[in-house]
């Protein structure tokens, strides 16, 4: 792209593609051709570029129009139909189409964020290595190879204070030293991109949006530790990420950034891609190693730790994708700069995937120390549909649910741990008053129970025993003593399980019991679900006093079980009701019990 050229950046992250990004891109290409703007001969040429995720997935497809000399404009909810209008009015005639342009709150989304790791996502074409280099890519590798010794790199990363972003929060620099110090010529570096948490898409967006920064981060780590071979372990359910990282690896190799004598220096690094095979447990590092070795993905006891005996019994270092993506940043800007962000014990930024009952669902990057309230209300835009906040689940199935009273908790590893939750890998699910916390615990536990590898007794059978109890409670068969039984069993499973899956699977149960015990008691003692989510405990009767006769329920009932006319209180015919709960979900006044 020349200085004079226009840029049309279309979000082609997975959410963008799912919202119709390909059709939008095609439409732009067609329209621009019609107006004679595509191609290279014109005075002002225009390039339509696919970029990675810029964060506000709720507003996809997002398109940035970049005209030199003018302000960058972002359009939201772009479809192929409105593209001709944008091209005609804005690109040709310089007149912004205000109706479709992003509103003020779009920019408010970015106010509290610090998009350092994600800085190139949404700007560069993830399949174009030159674009990455043009934006400063691979400069950190050059610095490291030219000016630093491996020990210096380790020191710098240690000084930065960065802690693992995969969930455990172990200081990355310290972990590097274990592997670096292990005896042996052959060492492996592994990038954990399994991202098994349901609803988490931080790692996905990084790889899909900027795969080269992951390669660069791995090069830095490999050089520091002394690894000449590495693996990216990416889950097979991310086909776009796999496609993009494959291309990036190929291009990097062609550009002498991978392979032998990288950049002419005495440093070799061969990178392989290993696809996962659909197991959440393979995000656990020893199960991941087993999977790479072609074995059944079952975790192994530690000690010995992978840093001493890892892949094929050789010292190995495993880092999460987001952690790795931070390394070029730390080298480029320095550990001191990195230190200035975040809190005393939790440095840098964290990427979160905001999901659930939240207006601005999408990918955000915030400095450590921001409070939950700021994350949910300022960045996230708060709860939609005029509902009330009830709880926020952090850390996916390994994490915990925190109530409103803890919204002032700063987001850092230690503060969150003291509440009983964990930072986790970055999944944030917001819940409102229509979410039943017992059901939430059941949902997460059923996931971990299905994903349990089955090797150890407490996780394999214990989580099933807990799930059976929760299922009884949610269908109205809870018994006296169930809550204590759950708590006792949960504690025992936590301390006796072999790996992180079993050790953290009870967390949703424990935190919901801790903070929402009354809800459990309602289910057991009174056979009632206050949030009206457990279908067996709902009567499906409209309360005459609360019903505002709006007819919303009537419109959504799939079986016609609701009788309603204008100015009438709605009535549910139980013989036709299938308990789908659409009426409850859509009633703005919580009038159905």
């Amino acid at each position: 792209m020349t200085e004079n050229s226009l840029g049309v950046h279309v979000c082609m992250g997975t959410a963008g593609v799912a919202s119709g990004g390909r059709e939008v891109m095609e439409a732009f290409n067609e329209e621009l051709k019609k107006h004679g703007l595509a191609g290279d001969v014109k005075e002002r040429d225009c390039k339509v570029k696919a970029t990675g995720c810029r964060g506000l997935c709720a507003r996809d497809v997002l398109v940035d129009i970049i005209i030199p000399g003018k302000d960058e404009v972002t359009y939201e909810h772009v479809t192929a139909e409105i593209v001709p209008l944008i091209v005609e009015q804005h690109i040709m005639n310089g007149d912004v189409v205000k109706k479709h342009a992003a509103k003020k709150d779009y920019y408010g989304f970015y106010e509290l964020q610090k998009r350092y790791v994600l800085k190139d996502c949404g700007i560069i074409d993830p399949e174009d290595m030159d674009d990455y280099i043009g934006h400063g890519g691979y400069s950190a590798v050059k610095t490291v190879l030219n000016d630093m010794k491996p020990e210096d790199v380790i020191e710098e990363v240690k000084k930065s204070g960065i802690r693992g972003r995969g969930g455990a929060g172990f200081p990355a620099g310290l972990k590097w030293t274990f592997c670096s110090k292990s005896p042996g010529e052959t060492k492996y570096l592994i990038c954990n991109s399994d991202e098994g948490d349901p609803g988490a898409f931080m790692d996905r967006s990084v790889i899909e949006g900027n795969p080269h920064c992951v390669i660069e981060g791995m090069l830095i780590a490999a050089y520091a530790i002394g690894c000449n071979e590495g693996y990216i372990y990416c889950r097979a359910e991310y086909p776009l990420a796999i496609e993009r990282v494959k291309k990036a690896m190929k291009d990097a190799e062609a550009g002498n950034y991978l392979g032998k004598n990288i950049l002419g220096k005495d440093f070799d690094f061969t990178l392989h891609l290993k696809e996962g095979a659909g197991a959440f447990v393979c995000g656990e590092e020893t199960a991941l190693l087993a999977s790479v070795e072609g074995e059944r993905g079952m975790p192994r006891s530690r000690p010995p730790f992978p840093a001493v005996r890892g892949l094929w019994d050789k010292p190995s270092n495993i880092n999460n994708v987001e952690t790795i993506a931070n390394f070029p940043l730390i080298i480029n800007k320095g550990a001191d700069w990195y230190n200035s962000i975040g809190t005393e014990k939790s440095k840098g930024t964290k990427i979160f995937a905001l999901a659930g009952k939240i207006k601005n669902a999408g990918l955000v990057e915030v400095p450590m120390g921001i409070t939950l309230k700021e994350l949910i209300y300022n960045v996230g835009g708060g709860i939609p549909n005029r509902r009330k906040f009830k709880a926020v689940q952090l850390g996916g199935p390994s994490g915990g649910c925190l109530p409103e009273s803890l919204l002032d908790t700063p987001i850092d590893f230690d503060s969150l741990q003291s509440t009983g939750a964990i930072m986790g890998s970055g999944g944030v699910v917001v819940m409102d008053e229509t979410n039943c916390m017992v059901n939430v615990a059941k949902f997460f536990l059923s996931f971990t129970q299905k994903e349990s590898c089955g090797k150890c007794i407490p996780c394999r059978i214990g989580t099933k025993a807990m799930l059976d109890i929760l299922e009884r409670i949610t269908v109205g068969e809870g018994r006296e003593g169930d809550i204590d039984l759950l708590e006792n069993l949960a504690e025992e499973i936590k301390i006796s399980s072999l790996c992180g899956l079993g050790q953290t699977a009870p967390n949703p149960v424990l935190t919901t019991i801790k903070y929402f015990r009354e809800e459990y008691e309602e289910h057991i003692k009174n056979r009632k679900c206050p949030a009206r989510e457990c279908a067996d405990l709902i009567d499906f009767v409209v309360d005459d006093d609360r019903c505002t006769k709006c007819g919303a329920c009537f419109r959504v009932c799939p079986t016609g079980a609701i009788e309603w006319e204008k100015k009438m209180v709605a009535k549910i015919d139980l013989s036709k009701c299938v308990k789908c709960r659409e009426c409850i979900v859509h009633c703005p006044f919580n009038a159905i019990d």
Partner: protein
């Protein structure tokens, strides 16, 4: 060395130990479930969790290495609660079958529930209801009782290296099964069943026949092949109900093979005659032995008077103990004054290497043997060594073997081609050929190279001698076949060799003696010439004998020919010792008494008729052996290895004609894993799986001949036409077929030569 504290007790142990091993060393018992001494630690059951001071996490004792200064607590309230919960969780799905489960009384789940005080289960029980799998002939599989400890999977993987079963599925849906739920495709060794802590993998030969608290236990040495495994006989009322193992006893570390484990029924067989002599119908059991044999002794004395002592001969089989073999030799040479003492074992190669040498070896060559079939436990030790240490393993065999799972260096070919390859290997060692340059360099540079070979194959001995000269430091392992093949030779049961291998006056050559009528009386202790390729052609000539005495537990074809047949005791019914292929002398214990006389009783009785008192008790015989056999002078009879005066005897020349006959297919003798000689053919469960001799053939050849698995095919060789059932097996080389050589029908085929060209017709 590392210092640590376990429950307050100071321990000073090697730094390579785990907490569990260190605790064992100081006498502290930590409960385990999924742990097994011979397998890599797994850490799955969590029963062995212990507290370590300063560590917020609980650690599994089986996997965690000791560290200096560790303070370990193996029992506390917290640990007690967890252990209880773990068993409770297992009891959610485990059916309460104890009253009808064979494992009751020796079940780890029962034991731990008892130890941890699990009196109730706080959770709703959901027993599984999968059908029981009866498809494996020896192993009953009840998946409902499985606790997923993984020991069966791990032993089949790490020790046996067959990987027939694995974990399938995930979470609570995990079960242990075969690939794609196909039929069991394994060797039926039963290692998996032996390590199952609950009643999930059961012994079908034992099924529902007895309860562990009823049975007595006797340790002995297996009486089948030359591996010399320690077995634990479980018996009641003079019937052997089961053969168990003990991980801590014997050179087999608790591993047994399918015939050792499942083939014991011949001991209890109803086929064991109680009558002595077919013609005279004397009941041998309980009868006065002297009265029984008196008429035959008269005949014997007559023959000696008329024809001289050298018309009498004795044939000793490896079924005999060392003590009996020694007495037999003494009876023949000193009482009957005859030099005609025979056995069918060659003295050309004597023991050199032991199992320990396999464990220490850094390069192993298996020459022309299917070692996992002929000597399963030796084969197992080779598999374990190669799996653990990745040492180079080279195998020469007409067809592929089970060792192909551990090495790519399996060199196969029909006999002539195979020997060409072996020649190439030797030439490469001499530097004259490039073909096996890389492989031979591994052997030349090895510090402890090992050669496993077949001492019964004359042709191979030529190569063994060459290899011994060319590979420095090479240890030799002649893989003998029967339980006391080595011992009877040590005791001088060989014409011209005294106990301890000193030379003495030789007698007639056995075949010549029979053919030319020089032998008029033959006392056969166990041997069945009908099954010997070398002597079966003379079988009918035995009718010429004036006196034939046969001692055998069964009425074999040989027994039928006898003037005097005496049914005798099996290995479970007598004391004594066996010497295995290592030269290791191990004692056997009498477990049961079925009222049969022993070979020893007979020999001593015969001597009495000649006014010679031979020692009868094991102790007395051993005293005499130490005096007369210099090799056995100072042994304790409890597992020492004898040092032999030579390794190989008689320089050999290379034979020109390896194979003879004409026809389109090459036949060679197979080793059978499921049978050892003829006794195991009397074990019904074993025989159900392998009854008649099977002709193994390659699928392509089978297709050419238009014959399918299980169908019959006609084999034509040297004037013999015989039908055999076909076993189609892709391990077989093209145009190469095999048959076991010790069945009456097959022995006659192989009597011409070891390797034959034959014709096959549908």
């Amino acid at each position: 060395m590392v210092s640590l504290k376990i429950d307050g007790i100071d321990a000073n142990v090697d730094g390579s130990l785990t907490i569990l091993e260190a605790a064992e060393a100081v006498g502290v018992n930590i409960p385990t479930f999924c742990h097994h001494k011979m397998l890599n630690p797994f850490g799955a059951c969590r029963v062995c969790l212990v507290e370590v001071k300063g560590n917020p996490k609980l650690l599994t004792a089986c996997t965690t290495p000791v560290m200096d200064g560790m303070e370990i607590i193996t029992s506390s309230e917290k640990l007690a609660k967890i252990r209880k919960t773990l068993i409770e969780l297992l009891l959610i799905n485990h059916p309460l079958d104890c009253p009808v489960c064979d494992k009751g009384g020796e079940c780890t789940l029962q034991d731990l529930a008892f130890e941890f005080g699990v009196t109730k289960v706080r959770f709703d029980e959901v027993p599984m209801k999968e059908p029981v799998d009866h498809s494996n002939p020896f192993i009953e599989r009840d998946i409902n009782r499985c606790v997923l400890c993984g020991k069966c999977v791990r032993i089949c993987d790490e020790v046996v290296n067959v990987q027939a079963i694995s974990f399938i599925g995930r979470g609570t849906d995990t079960y242990i099964g075969t690939a794609f739920d196909q039929a069991w495709n394994c060797e039926y060794c039963g290692q998996c069943m032996s390590v199952c802590p609950v009643g999930s993998l059961g012994n079908r030969v034992f099924l529902h026949k007895n309860r562990p608290w009823n049975m007595k236990t006797t340790y002995s040495i297996c009486g089948l092949c030359s591996c010399g495994c320690t077995v634990v006989l479980k018996h009641e009322n003079n019937k052997v109900y089961r053969v168990d193992e003990d991980t801590d006893a014997g050179i087999n570390h608790g591993f047994l093979c399918s015939k050792g484990r499942y083939g014991y029924e011949f001991i209890n067989s109803d086929d064991r005659p109680e009558i002595s002599n077919v013609k005279m119908n004397n009941v041998a059991k309980g009868i006065d032995l002297k009265k029984l044999i008196e008429p035959s002794i008269e005949k014997l004395k007559n023959i000696i008077d008329n024809y001289g002592s050298d018309a009498v001969g004795m044939v000793v089989s490896p079924r005999l103990t060392n003590e009996e073999a020694f007495l037999a030799q003494k009876l023949c040479r000193e009482v009957l004054k005859s030099n005609n003492i025979y056995s069918l074992e060659p003295v050309t190669a004597l023991p050199d290497a032991t199992y320990d040498d396999v464990d220490k070896s850094d390069a192993i060559l298996v020459l022309n043997m299917d070692i996992t079939e002929s000597n399963p436990i030796l084969g197992l030790s080779i598999r374990r060594k190669v799996r653990k240490s990745g040492v180079p393993l080279v195998v020469f065999n007409p067809s592929s073997t089970a060792l192909k799972r551990l090495t790519d260096n399996i060199i196969v070919g029909e006999p002539k081609e195979l020997y060409k390859e072996i020649d190439s290997f030797v030439s490469s060692l001499e530097g004259k050929s490039e073909k096996y340059k890389e492989l031979v360099s591994k052997f030349k540079s090895a510090e402890k190279p090992l050669l496993v070979f077949n001492p019964y194959n004359e042709i191979d001995l030529y190569y063994v001698e060459r290899l011994k000269k060319l590979i420095p430091g090479l240890k030799l392992l002649p893989a003998r076949s029967k339980n006391n093949s080595q011992g009877i030779l040590d005791m001088g049961c060989y014409s011209g060799i005294r106990p301890g291998y000193q030379q003495c006056e030789a007698g007639h050559e056995l075949a010549e003696g029979i053919k030319k009528g020089r032998l008029k009386a033959l006392i056969v202790l166990g041997e069945n010439l009908d099954l010997s390729p070398e002597y079966c052609s003379l079988f009918d000539e035995l009718d010429k004998l004036g006196l034939l005495v046969v001692l055998d537990p069964f009425m074999s074809e040989m027994s039928k020919k006898a003037h005097l047949y005496i049914p005798v005791a099996s290995y479970a019914e007598k004391d004594g010792s066996f010497t295995n292929f290592e030269g290791r002398v191990q004692s056997i214990q009498k477990a049961i008494d079925k009222g049969f006389v022993t070979d020893r009783d007979f020999i001593v009785s015969v001597a009495e008729f000649f006014n010679v008192v031979l020692p009868h008790s094991t102790g007395d015989i051993r005293v005499m052996i130490t005096q007369e056999n210099p090799l056995y002078k100072d042994i304790s009879w409890d597992g020492e290895v004898i040092k032999y005066p030579y390794l190989l005897k008689h320089g050999r020349s290379q034979r020109k004609d390896i194979i003879c006959g004409d026809g389109g297919y090459n036949l060679y003798p197979a080793s059978l894993r499921l049978h050892s000689g003829s006794y195991t053919r009397r074990s019904p469960e074993l025989s159900k799986v392998y009854s008649e001799p099977l002709l193994e053939i390659n699928p392509a050849d089978a297709r050419d001949l238009n014959v399918e698995n299980g169908e019959y095919i006609k084999l034509i060789s040297g004037g013999i036409e015989e039908k055999f059932k076909v076993d189609v097996n892709e391990k077989m080389s093209l145009k190469t077929v095999s048959l076991p050589d010790n069945y009456p029908s097959t022995a006659r085929i192989f009597s011409i030569n070891r390797y034959l060209k034959v014709d096959l017709k549908r």
